[in-house]
Amino acid sequence: MGISPVLWQFLTKWMHGSALFPAEASTISPWVDALYFSLLLMTIFGLVVVGVLLTVFAIRYRREKSPVATQIEGSTLLEATWTIIPLAVFLLMFVWGALLYFRIYNPPTNAMNIYVVGKQWMWKAEHPGGQHEINALHVPTGQPVQLTMISQDVFHSFSIPAFRVKREVIPGRYTTVWFNATTPGTYHLFCTQYCGTQHSGMIGEITVLTPEDYKKWLHESTSGMSLAQNGERLFASMGCNQCHSGNAAARGPNLAGVYGSKLTLNDGSKVLVNDAYLRDAILNPSQHVTAGFSPIMPTYQGQISEDGLIDLVEYIKGLQTNYRVQQTLVTASSDEAAPPTPAAGTTTEMVKP
């Protein structure tokens, strides 16, 4: 027709692959989309009501047809109507949105855990088996996956539009998000929080595999050492085992089985030990001192990278019996003393049990 072939080529090439609606690739996507369309409906409804009112009045009461205005005070009934109806609609959306929010941010208990570290400007994913990925993440379908994420520097945000999930990745603290992928394929991973120069380069690919393919992938890309094994090494080399030796006489508490338990602190309060608590116990030990112990544990702030912390956390999480700890003690040659902590001399002086 009139369109020149070149332009046509150009247009088709362009239109190809451009979308108006994102793929639905997780169990949560349809739920989010349902709310989205309801909100869209609300908007269209509101817009139509307002638009019709404006148009009808503008035509019906234009100067030519209605040369003299009739003054009206107002109408309590009408005003009550348009206070209550939007209020009701908005409240409905609030409840709906809130339910969805808790659904997205409360992982099911059987979720498998993958760690993600964000830093300017890349994503590192660490699977429990020790598989490391950069700007990529492989996940299986049909299995809830929880991401435990932390940033090494500034705020980032981990966003997978096709899964409709997103969570801020914060320095100094673990955040979590979960999803259950449904459709194999590759999807965008974006950093959506502005994090400096290469913010728009902090992107990656999520590869969703069938469980079998995922197993294969895990197998092929293993680095030989699981996170927990790495953690065990660190536990010995950082000297943790000097105090957390699992012996009755140890200066530090026994860490076996501590994960998931409720600890009593020496101010009497109780805390649930989760990943975040373990991490903080290593970096800010004196902030929450376990009952019956004195605050002698040195801080490891600034001495372990976030990856190292993840390894340690993963190791401690897996400690079920004392036996493991004592094994560690034996296998790790105790040639490496505890690393010097800031004001090292002072800390040893403080050790007065």
């Binding site: 009408l78 609030f94 809130a98 941010y105 945000s157 992107i203």
Partner: protein, 555 residues
């Protein structure tokens, strides 16, 4: 009758330019730079914010140009980051926050109340100077190499990870903030203390009510921004960690303080515009505003509730889920007064006698676009939805719909509406209608695709993006071009009208406000004798009686 106490001029048909008015009262640059006349200060503001609008607009143009292609090929990523940062800072702090209040509000509030000036004329001038210092510092930051924090200054990025001119920009915002505080303070005192006899609270034009509400936000919110920004600057300079997690600080504390101001600030930005719309709709439908007191109270309600919802900007940032619940609920509540206003405006048209001059066209555009922008705000307020939409182009579209489609359209409505009052001359009607239509079309073309982009997941503040988003981005850039033309036109023809526009006369729109009962442009002292308000606002019957008893001519 009582009408005699209000000075009035004959009508437009016979109109001549008054001999004496605030513009020719004194001459020379110094008489402007040292003036204490609220009308002259308003003009100073008008010139300066227009200047900054085009600076911000130029950055918008560059942003859109860069986003034409998926790669960051026009400029490098860091330059792009500076673009949107400067665009945001300039548009928000140097254009939109002072836009209506500092120009139209400054010019009109004393006159609408029947006062000779604002309560503190010198502080008013000081505000302008503070504004200019803030503006100059922003330009300095720009010339020295720019800032790339984003207008939100997120810590610890802004405090420890960037080495651009953050402190300069922070100082600029600090200073400009005080300009805004003083404007708000001046308005509140004026509205409480300077009303003419008979000007009761419920006889004030709704324009004044909405400025009153916005002023409360300026006075109570802005200092929190000031301290947040001071802490950022100190943390940068000294390097201690109130906001630095490695030193035990909480970066979210900054966000709490920042949004404690910046959410109310969005209402600082919209409320004055809503005031304009009330005046315009009433005048061009020749009807009193439907449910005057509901509209007045909803302004105050927006201001009050506006302080309770800031955390909705932080829903996924790691705040407590329970607290997010509370803030989400309150966000829904704050949306209701806006809905009330929209419907009250719509019903003001009912049984009116409507004409479609340019300000009215802009007002219609405002209502439509604000409804879209506001209702998409409700998307973001709904927690589960916000997770997917936050930090994407959906947000960008949302706030441009309320800020550009809403406030900027209202500003243009107001400028056209009161142009005859401010300059004594009419703008060219058909050209201005053309520009109103152009900007309406251009606007929707620019920002409607961004809603879709946002739902697709395209993150904001991206210099480069995946290729599949290109079509919509090209549409958006095309729209921005049209929009730019739509915004350039008024500059040209309004400038032209200063010299060649038809003489307006005192009350070209046959509007009821006190400002229309005095000559245009007004005298320096506004009123020859103190007016007495003996009727409701928007009392068109009073106006008809009055014109029959036309008397004094001044100037």
């Amino acid at each position: 009758m009582s009408a005699t106490s209000i000075v009035s001029l004959p009508d437009q048909s016979t109109a001549t330019m008054p001999k004496r008015h605030y513009i020719n009262n004194e001459h020379g640059l110094l008489s402007w730079l040292l003036t204490a006349d609220h009308k002259r200060i308003a003009i100073l503001y008008l010139i300066s914010i227009t200047f900054f609008f085009f600076i911000g607009g130029a950055f918008a143009g560059l942003i859109r140009l860069e986003l034409l292609t998926p790669q960051s090929d026009l400029v490098a990523a860091d330059t792009y980051n500076k673009f949107f940062t400067m665009h945001g800072i300039v548009m928000i702090f140097l254009f939109l926050v002072p836009s209506v209040p500092a120009t139209l509000g400054n010019f009109l509030i004393p006159i609408m109340l029947g006062a000779k000036d604002l309560a503190f004329p010198k502080i008013n001038l000081l505000s302008w100077y503070l504004y200019m210092i803030g503006g100059t510092l922003t330009l300095a930051a720009l010339v020295l190499g720019g800032v790339d924090t984003g207008w939100t200054f997120t810590t610890p990025l802004s405090t420890h990870y960037l080495n651009t001119h953050v402190v300069t920009a922070a100082t600029a915002i600090f200073v400009a903030g005080f300009s805004s505080i003083f404007t708000g303070l001046n308005f509140i005192v004026t509205i409480h203390r300077m009303r003419a006899p008979g000007m009761t609270w419920f006889r004030m034009p709704l324009f004044v009510w909405s400025h009153y509400a916005a002023s409360l936000l300026m006075v109570l919110g802005t200092p929190v921004l000031a301290i947040a920004i001071v802490l950022v600057a100190l943390e940068r300079l000294i390097g201690i960690g109130v906001f630095d997690p490695t030193k035990g600080g909480d970066p979210l504390l900054f966000q709490h303080l920042f949004w404690f101001y910046s959410h109310p600030a969005v209402y600082i930005m919209i409320l004055p515009g809503m005031g304009v719309i009330s005046e315009v709709i009433s005048t061009f439908s020749r009807k009193r505003v439907f449910g005057y007191s509901a509209v007045a109270f909803s302004s105050v309600a927006i201001a009050l509730f506006g302080f309770f919802v800031w955390e909705h900007h932080m829903f996924i940032m790691g705040v407590s889920n329970y607290s997010a619940l509370v803030f989400s609920l309150l966000t829904m509540l704050v949306a209701v007064p806006s809905a009330i206003k929209v419907f009250n405006w719509a019903f003001t048209l009912q049984k009116g006698s409507i004409t479609f001059e340019t300000p009215m066209l802009y007002a219609f555009a405002f209502i439509g676009l604000f409804t879209i922008g506001g209702l998409t705000g409700v998307f973001l307020g709904a927690l589960g939805m916000d997770i997917h939409l936050t930090e994407t182009y959906f947000i960008v579209a949302h706030f441009h719909y309320v800020m550009v489609g809403g406030m900027l359209m209202a500003f243009l409505a107001g400028i056209h509406f009161w142009w005859p009052k401010m300059t004594g001359r009419m703008y060219p009607e058909s050209l201005s209608k053309l520009s109103a239509v152009t900007s309406f079309i251009g606007f929707n073309l620019t920002f409607m695709p961004q809603f879709i982009l946002g739902y697709l997941g395209m993150p904001r503040r991206y210099a480069s993006y995946p290729a599949e988003f290109q079509v919509l981005n090209v549409l958006s850039t095309a729209g921005a071009t049209v929009l730019g033309v739509g915004f350039m036109l008024p500059l040209l023809y309004l400038g032209w009208s200063l010299k060649y526009g038809a003489i307006a006369g005192a009350n070209p729109w046959q509007a009821t406000g006190l400002e229309w009962q005095i000559q245009s442009p007004p005298l320096t002292e506004n009123f020859i004798e103190t007016p007495i308000m003996d009727h409701e606002a928007y009392d068109y019957e009073w106006l008809e009686n009055k014109t029959k008893h036309e008397v004094t001519t001044v100037g």
